[in-house]
Symmetry: C2
Subunit: 336 residues, 2 copies
DNA sequence: TTGTAGGCGTTATCAT
DNA sequence: ATGATAACGCCTACAA
């Protein structure tokens, strides 16, 4: 009942010591041609695979990183994950994925587990109040790069997207179409990135005579009907609705339709975050699209730098979102 | 410049040996109340987190598993991943995610990395020709559970979905609507699950006078126009198209529309695999929906059993898909 | 070019 | 209830 072969099993079979095998495996030293061949054959015959565990214990490198997001099921994060994994895979690194559901507690729990140095670094999309998690990483000297969301007063490296400009440009687009009355939909959890979006949108209004009302919404089957009523009860009634994240966008679309409002004939609807092209059954929604795949890739690169040079220069990468103009926004129409 | 504290740092600070600390941390032995408190305080003060690496090296358990899928970006796999991660998280296990893009080579590469025993087990959605990967796992005694797709003649535990019955039931539904001429769309890579779907669909036709033509398609912007022509050139022309996976379903819908065919007025379109409800902007597609979240959860449970009892009874779990009837299929209409 | 010694941070086992 | 010892599998440093 042979257990998994170790480096010493290989060594024995090849008639050398474990060090020689180690040299062959890692090309970390000179080995004569004949010995190399014998060792390689032994490795082959035994099906030897070096233990990353033991290796990590010595070298302090596990060749593994973690990606902590709120919900991998959200296509925005899914695409980030794919970007991270592709980049990591190129370097023969493995990636763990953790879902926090925006819970600070889960986040802290995960960072605790990850700090058990089974991971060389962490890519974190921080939940509200991620200070705990960051402090934990700091304490354990765990390289950490933030993704997508800032933490006020935090000095970690960060990859994010210029959502403020994205929101502003979308509003400018809507203004150009002739809209002046807006409803802005944002999520009730106070994320920096959500605030940035709101601010960007409002910025665009300055000196235009446009007006926006901000609604904090969590849309689901029960709440969405009432929400639509609130938006449309505004006086004057908004001609354009700008939903500041992807779930809100879809939620708003469904809710509006359910109440008999046609988009864009009755109201324009602009959104944030796109769905991957192959999943888009009906390219329709005009959105601010964030380069999520690139966020993942860039995050990985920064993390790699951080790992190689811990606490060196904390850097910030800001990517530009893209305005994707489709069919859900038109010129305002006047009712009755 | 203190490095990460080890169990011995804690021991020193608490005035005990590392073994005592170990006992406190793992509740693995008797510790007097006072000592326990001192140790706990030292742990707190130092911010000690046990090394999973060292732990794993000793105990042969890393409390980590891997999920290997073709593409995490496909919502079907994303949801599986979420199911796995939720279940794993309950047991304080971490999950690695790997994308193979259906490449046997990538799959083998990943299994090699994972076999470096930094993982207690693997959940694999096998690509075509995953025998290599399975053999590798076998050799390294790496617990492995297959997800979603069978491998002919393979003895590993398996969680999948009764796609044959799902496809059959969908066809029965279409027959009941009056359809007799079908186009079946399947992917060109020869997956067992794809074959099962085709067979299930054809089964339903027996003795009904219905007829189906099978097309192996890879739909993209270039190919899809010609593909539509092929389907619709059938004589008699199909009144219903059944796409056997989610990408084909969306692809077919877009392609048909682009060629001016309205769904369902001109052709009915049935699909496989659903999008998560919150992402469904416009619930429209009639589909066979697989319980992907549950596949993930069940897979994890099986893997846990496998880990606890390696090579015990290889089990198979088959979940039932659900017919989701929406608006993309109607009764056949006659042209010209 | 190859080998020896020792330790990375834990925990199993045996001893006190 | 606590401690001493060894070992998990590998690699760094040094020696031959």
């Amino acid at each position: 009942m042979p257990s998994r072969p170790t480096i010493r099993d290989v060594a024995a079979r090849a008639g050398v010591t474990d060090m020689t095998v180690s040299r062959v495996v890692n090309r970390s030293g000179p080995v004569s041609e004949g010995v190399r061949r014998r060792v390689e054959q032994a490795i082959e015959e035994l099906g030897y695979v070096p233990s990353r565990l033991a290796r990590g214990l010595r070298s302090k490198r596990t060749l593994t990183i973690a990606l902590v997001v709120s919900d991998i099921t959200n296509p925005f994060f899914t695409t980030i994950a794919r970007g991270v994994e592709d980049a990591a895979s190129d370097q023969e690194l493995l990636v763990m994925v953790c879902n926090t559901d925006e819970s600070e507690e889960e986040e802290t729990r995960y960072l605790g587990m990850l700090a058990g140095q089974n991971v060389d670094g962490v890519l974190l999309v921080p939940a509200k109040g991620a200070e705990n998690a960051c402090a934990l990483a700091e304490r354990r000297r765990l390289p950490l790069v933030l993704l997508e969301r800032r933490i006020p007063g935090n000095a970690h490296s960060l990859v994010h997207c210029d959502v403020r400009s994205g929101a502003r440009r979308m509003m400018e687009h809507l203004l150009k179409l002739g809209h002046r009355e807006f409803a802005l939909l944002t999520s009730p959890i106070g994320l920096t990135t959500a605030d940035d979006r709101v601010e960007g949108a409002l910025e665009a209004l300055k000196g235009t005579g446009g007006r926006a009302t901000v609604f904090s919404e969590r849309l689901n089957r029960e709440t969405s009907g009432k929400a639509v009523e609130r938006w449309m009860a505004l006086n004057p009634r908004p001609t354009a609705i700008f939903a500041l994240n992807n779930l809100l966008t879809i939620g708003a679309l469904k809710a509006l339709r359910a109440r008999g409002f046609r988009v864009p004939q009755d109201v324009s609807l602009a959104g944030f975050d796109d769905l991957p092209e192959p999943l888009l059954e009906n390219p329709f929604l005009t959105v601010v699209s964030q380069p999520s795949y690139e966020i993942g890739k860039a995050g990985f690169e920064l993390l790699l730098a951080e790992i190689a040079n811990p606490g060196f220069a904390h850097r910030e990468v800001m990517l530009q979102p893209e305005l994707v103009i489709r069919d859900s926004c038109g010129s305002p129409t006047v009712f009755e």
